[in-house]
Symmetry: C2
Subunit: 144 residues, 2 copies
DNA sequence: GCAAACCCCAGTGGAGAACCGGAGTATACT
DNA sequence: AGTATACTCCGGTTCTCCACTGGGGTTTGC
């Protein structure tokens, strides 16, 4: 029941990209990585996955980088996590549980998944950005 | 977001034990394992964990075995999964996330956890048993 | 044309999950 | 009492996956 480093990195990166969306200026891997303490060669892979998932666009060549594919309030956390974790296919050759006991357990676990996904679907990157800003205010007030 | 084999095995085993609770007759590892297709030496470890967690009692010696420690409707699925997965300690030295971005992400993940745990807490072993029985009826009706 | 960026693919180290085995201990039945 | 049958404890083994690293490419701006 932990959030994988993979997904956390992806969210952090997109959180960095969000404020730059209006300007249309791309942000480079190195900058994001150093800003959020993420191994840059690893972040590269995650951004590639996000690109294939249609969440970010990339600009190749010198002065290139990454930018959000659409507005921050049109990207839910579910979009991000499911893209990075790749858990869309529930209709794949997962053994369709033979015994009735296994079926029942599978069914109730489906409810657990749905509950979790519901929370992820109701938050967008924009929400995270706003929460971040509010959090920063609190941090400043408590700073000495 | 998958249910581990560990937890699924534990739930299956407890599901087997549930109907035997009223009689007070213990069930042996071998029987449970063969009934639910679980490696028996592995199931042994899981039952030991459940015993230490106070969910089952064991009867040693010949004609021994395992039985539920309390009524099936007094054991929630959360009890089982948290015991087997051991994820109680949220107040441990998990790095208390330095950056405001990480804090915000950590916070929203807390909501996801809570949603998932809420579902697990509202179901008991008794519920699973009843669902299983209902499921069996359906299976029989569709058989041939 | 060359440097700065992304792109692709392959490999490695460590941790944990799933499982197996053996020696010991308690209990029931005869 | 003795023996068979269970649980109990502890260790090891295999395998997979996560997190990360590295070595090449290709595209683009200056």
């Amino acid at each position: 029941m932990d959030l994988s480093a993979k997904s956390e990195y992806a969210l952090l990166a997109l959180l960095e990209l969000s404020p730059h969306y209006p300007s249309g200026e791309p942000l480079q891997i190195r900058q994001i990585a150093s800003q959020q303490n993420i191994p840059d060669r690893y972040l590269e892979q995650l951004l590639a996955t996000l690109r294939r998932g249609g969440l970010v666009k990339s600009q190749r060549g010198a002065r290139g980088g990454y930018l959000l594919a659409r507005d921050p309030w049109k990207i839910t956390l579910y979009d991000v996590v499911s893209c990075i974790e790749g858990f869309e296919p529930q209709a794949d050759p997962t053994q369709v549980s033979d015994t009735p006991e296994a079926q029942v357990i599978q069914g109730m676990w489906g409810e657990v998944r749905q509950a979790a996904e519901g929370v992820l679907q109701k938050y967008t990157l924009q929400d995270l950005v706003e929460k971040r800003n509010a959090q920063q205010q609190v941090d400043i007030m408590y700073y000495i």
